[in-house]
């Protein structure tokens, strides 16, 4: 599996650290415990196309939103998380 980092180009999977679903970009307000529970634990976990967060740890150190098909390991698109979060 290779990930095409928008800054560094096509790189080996070993350079990246996987965090989890891109739900992590939508942090709920403090105090809403049910929303925080959902944010931390509940996952849609689809058996198809999903978006998740990867850190280019051994590269440019960018956080990336990677669109992948988790049933085939095909990578469909990569964006900088800083762009997605705008």
């Amino acid at each position: 599996m290779r990930i095409n980092c928008p800054i560094c180009g096509d790189r080996d999977r070993r350079e990246f650290y996987y965090l989890g679903a891109s739900d992590y970009l939508n942090r709920p307000a403090e105090g809403d415990l049910d929303a925080i529970h959902k944010y931390l634990h509940i996952r849609e976990n689809p058996a198809g196309v999903t978006k998740d967060l990867w850190h280019h740890e051994a590269g440019c150190s960018s956080w990336l939103v990677v669109e992948r098909n988790v049933s085939t390991h095909e990578i469909l698109g990569v964006e900088l998380a800083s762009e997605v979060a705008k």
């Binding site: 999977r13 679903a21 415990l33 634990h41 976990n45 999903t50 990867w54 988790v70 390991h73």
Partner: protein
């Protein structure tokens, strides 16, 4: 059909023509008292114990593929009760006892082999942690012996004792741990459940779960609608998809775990050995293949196959521990889909839909749990209250933070287990 030595001799002398299928292939009825979705190890054992322990006779197991074709046929067959956390400790202790009586109970050879399991440690800190774990295991009534370096060398002379990177300080020996024949476990429970009247319906995919006014009414399948008063979802690997059919959201992320087997070799590895520093474990099947694996690939996946970096890591770890492994050829590798929960422990619980229950989140440890999972899920579904040894394994623990069972102590977060 019973099995005995005389029958094997007779069949052997007559060309093995007398063997018959050991479970029926029934058409689904329009209604059952209980439907179990998922004909894997856990689903089959749930159906078996519902019939055997709770006297429920009108049960169907619905399987999308074929019996034994999921994770029950894709694991590394290790059976152990060396857990630490309250909740897991009593559950796996119960499970190991069921393993030890399973063959007599099912009259089926599941090739359970209590050959002993050794977890190696490589530092003073790790030794202290394993000593503490061993004490917890003894307090639970199970067996644990702390071995020093020479003690390990007597059992496992083939390890690299000259390693300076990860010197072997000793090991925690769990003599009752071991392995079993994974397919035979599925077949044994399938046969046992069938003999108690359970309908095992293969090639029957559940496509919907009927819920009305918060109560489960039945399921929609590729072979028509089936009504039921109680439905159990026992589909680890596909829990999120099946739960979604009833409008449920679950705290699960699916990950890939790879395993490997070598060509058949003469008996070399007598135990199950785990090497925590390199994320590697090893045993030898009765056919002679070395069966080994490592950690998750660490990204969400349903592909049932992994990527090369983790394969390389496992081989490196194996070579670091047992240099002789380099002489063996790897025959096959495969991957299984793991229902990963945030704390790394499983869930057997009610859902917000009355009559709908879930047994899921087995992470990378479902095989050893097959008997106790079925035992406890059957108890929950029959009595509508959790079994004593599985009562801590609720959905709610993630929301409240109370009673988390994080064996690794890394935190209750999806990517940490």
């Amino acid at each position: 059909m019973g099995y005995n030595a005389f029958q094997i001799l007779k069949e052997g002398l007559t060309g093995n023509k007398g063997w018959r299928p050991v479970w029926r292939d029934p058409e689904p009825k329009s209604e059952y008292d209980v439907i179990i979705i998922g004909g894997g190890g856990h689903g089959l054992s749930t159906a078996y114990y519902l019939a055997k322990n709770h006297g429920i006779k009108n049960i169907a197991v619905l399987e999308r593929g074929y019996i034994g074709g999921g994770n029950i046929g894709r694991n590394t067959t290790i059976v152990r009760a060396n857990y630490f956390m309250p909740g897991n400790s009593e559950f796996y202790s119960h499970s190991l006892k069921l393993w030890e009586s399973m063959e007599q109970d099912l009259n089926y050879n599941t090739m359970h082999s209590g050959r002993g399991l050794i977890n190696l440690f490589h530092s003073d800190g790790q030794r202290d942690a394993f000593a503490r774990r061993g004490n917890m295991m003894c307090n639970q009534g199970d067996d644990a012996i702390l071995l020093d370096r020479d003690g390990v060398r007597k059992h496992l002379p083939y390890l690299d004792f000259e390693s300076h990177r990860f010197p072997v300080y000793g090991g925690l020996y769990h003599p009752r741990g071991g392995t079993a024949r994974h397919d035979a476990v599925a077949w044994g429970y399938a046969r046992g459940a069938d003999q108690l009247g359970v309908d095992l319906i293969q090639q029957c995919e559940v496509t919907g779960i009927d819920v009305k006014d918060g109560v489960v009414r039945g399921v929609q399948t590729s072979r028509g609608a089936i009504r039921a008063k109680r439905v159990g979802i026992v589909v680890a690997g596909r829990s999120s998809q099946v739960a979604a059919m009833a409008g449920l959201e679950v705290p699960i992320e699916s990950h890939i775990l790879q395993a490997f087997v070598s060509e058949g070799l003469k008996p070399t590895v007598d135990h199950v050995v785990s090497f925590g520093m390199g994320h590697f474990y090893l045993s030898q099947s009765d056919k002679g293949g070395l069966v080994f694996g490592g950690d998750l690939d660490f990204y969400a996946s349903y592909a049932q196959r992994g990527n090369l970096p983790m394969m390389e890591h496992v081989m490196e770890a194996g070579m670091a521990l047992v240099p002789a492994l380099g002489k063996a050829k790897v025959l096959r590798s495969w991957g299984g889909i793991m229902d990963m929960t945030p704390d790394g422990s499983f869930i057997i619980d009610r859902t917000k839909v009355d009559g709908l229950y879930m047994d899921c989140g087995w992470c990378y440890g479902g095989f050893k749990a097959v008997p106790a999972s079925g035992w406890c899920m059957a108890h929950l579904m029959a009595e509508d209250k959790p079994h004593e040894v599985a009562k801590k394994h609720t959905f709610d623990r993630f929301r409240t933070g109370h009673g988390l069972m994080d064996e690794e102590g890394t935190g209750s977060q999806h990517n940490l287990h």
